[in-house]
């Protein structure tokens, strides 16, 4: 993963309350998953306020549609993509 990322992908299922160690530059970040994170889904590495950019691969994958706490599951319920959004266009811009 990229040093600027604020989410990480679970390469195996993480149980609610489980402590996980995420490799980051020069060490490891330890945090507790607040809920179950299925294989292949994303975990917030820090608190992310509503509207903040969410980064994976060092690039923008969307923004927080609600407040996300460190250790939360990050998916379509709290992350929204901003590209190619005809619905936003219709409502008069982003």
């Amino acid at each position: 993963m990229h040093p600027n990322d604020n989410v990480a992908t679970a390469v195996e299922e993480i149980r609610a309350g489980e402590e996980v160690s995420v490799p980051v530059a020069g060490g490891a970040l330890t945090l507790r998953a607040t809920e179950m994170i299925p294989f292949g889904f994303k975990l917030a590495l820090q608190d992310i306020p509503p509207g903040a950019i969410i980064r994976k691969y060092g690039e923008t994958i969307g923004r927080a549609s609600t407040a996300i706490a460190k250790g939360n599951l990050v998916h379509i319920h709290n992350l929204e993509g901003t590209r190619a959004r005809g619905d936003l266009e219709r409502r008069g811009g982003q």
């Binding site: 294989f39 590209r83 190619a84 005809g86």
Partner: protein, 395 residues
């Protein structure tokens, strides 16, 4: 490294040795049903009522398939409903295919005794042409003659961490050897274009990538729809992909790390070697016929897992004359459809192989298929119809 292929008069190298009968229709189908070793295309679009741009796109597919290095010789018939348009005249198709130096014959029901007469003549010609093609022998050639095409689908996390990286390794290796590699799916680079333009070989390539993305994104916005109800597709979301941008950033891993030499239209042939982006659409019944027409001689579908539960048989052959491989890194997909899957790289997740080792094994699989080993989908007669990528309204 090298493979065994059929050297064609224009210097391109085939991995198969078919006789092609085009366009689609009862004449082509009847000839192919009667004569072994022949192929035709199966698609509903023959150009009638289509705009000039779309007719040219159809012509590019037909001419491109005719010129494919996997085709020894071609029969063109003049009975297609679209043949009255200048772009799709049988004589035009014949001339442009014959420019590659291969044998091209024409069937015209108006001169050859009607539909029955054209079928009879076609069967007689095709038998001689298949027999003549069978005299060709494979020769050892270098990897610079490989031209690959890829798409990923039903993408999930295994695609991003083990499937696409193995394909990326293959792409880098073939491009480094002087070969050609094609990737595309314009909707699935929205959000990843900055990562791609950093790899543009020249400034005009970066501009072309940005222009292509802008046109596609504007089309998406013009629908007034939330793209998330369309793409990522439900199987992607089930697999953990949350946005189109995230899907795009994972998808581009399959293109490796080589510089991008240009942006091609659907079914357009690259003018040089190297890695190219193709402005096409993700549908597998569309994309592979386009790669085949662009000159690809091996194509791959990197399969994830979302939404494929219960699919124990993966159909194939959407690439008409080009061997088609199924690859996956998802253990459940592989376990369900082992008989259909040519390459498995879930080993990377299981820890028994590095991504490089898996990529090297994929490369050897491709060389093997290029040299004549059948891909698993080639063991089926079943052929899916082709969905030509046409973008303009019909009138």
């Amino acid at each position: 490294m090298s493979f065994l292929g059929y050297i064609r008069p224009d210097g391109s190298v085939g991995t198969r040795n078919h006789v092609l009968v085009i366009p689609q229709g009862i004449i082509a189908k009847s000839v192919c049903d009667f004569v072994a070793g022949t192929k035709t295309i199966l698609t509903a679009d023959h150009g009638s009522g289509r705009t000039a741009n779309d007719r040219e796109q159809i012509a590019r597919v037909l001419i491109g398939l005719g010129r494919s290095p996997n085709v020894a010789s071609v029969i063109v018939h003049a009975a297609s409903p679209g043949a009255g348009y200048p772009e799709l005249r049988a004589e035009r198709l014949v001339d442009e295919i014959a420019a590659s130096g291969k044998r091209v014959e024409i069937l015209d029901p108006a001169k050859d005794g009607g539909t029955y007469g054209a079928i009879l003549k076609g069967i007689q010609l095709a038998r001689r042409m298949v027999h003549e093609a069978s005299r060709s022998r494979r020769e050892k050639v270098e990897d610079e003659h490989l031209c690959l095409g890829v798409k990923c689908g039903y993408s999930d996390t295994t695609s991003g961490i083990a499937g696409n990286p193995a394909v990326g390794y293959l792409y880098d290796k073939v491009v480094a050897a002087g070969g050609t590699a094609l990737f595309g799916e314009t909707t699935e680079i929205i959000g990843a274009e900055q990562a791609l333009i950093r790899r543009a070989a020249r400034p005009e390539v970066a501009e072309a990538i940005l222009r292509t993305v802008t046109v596609q994104e504007d089309r998406a916005k013009a629908t007034g729809l939330d793209i998330r109800t369309v793409n990522p597709v439900p199987s992607n979301i089930k697999g953990g992909i949350s946005s189109l941008e995230e899907k795009s950033l994972g998808a581009i891993h399959k293109a490796g790390t080589a510089p991008i030499q240009g942006v091609l239209k659907y079914a357009e042939r690259p003018t040089r070697k190297g890695l190219y982006f193709v402005d096409n659409w993700m549908g597998h019944l569309s994309i592979f016929a386009g790669y085949a027409a662009a000159g690809a001689n091996v194509v791959l579908f990197q399969l994830g897992g979302g939404g494929v539960a219960g699919r124990t048989l993966l159909e194939g052959s959407p690439s008409v004359v080009v061997p088609f491989l199924w690859a996956t890194a998802n253990p459940r997909t592989y376990a369900a459809a082992t008989d259909s899957i040519d390459f498995y790289s879930g080993t990377v997740i299981e820890g028994s192989e590095t991504p490089e080792e898996a990529g090297e094994r994929l490369y050897r699989t491709v060389i093997d298929v290029a040299s004549g080993t059948l891909s698993l989908s080639e063991t089926l007669y079943y052929t899916e119809p082709i969905d030509l990528y046409l973008q303009e309204p019909r009138f």
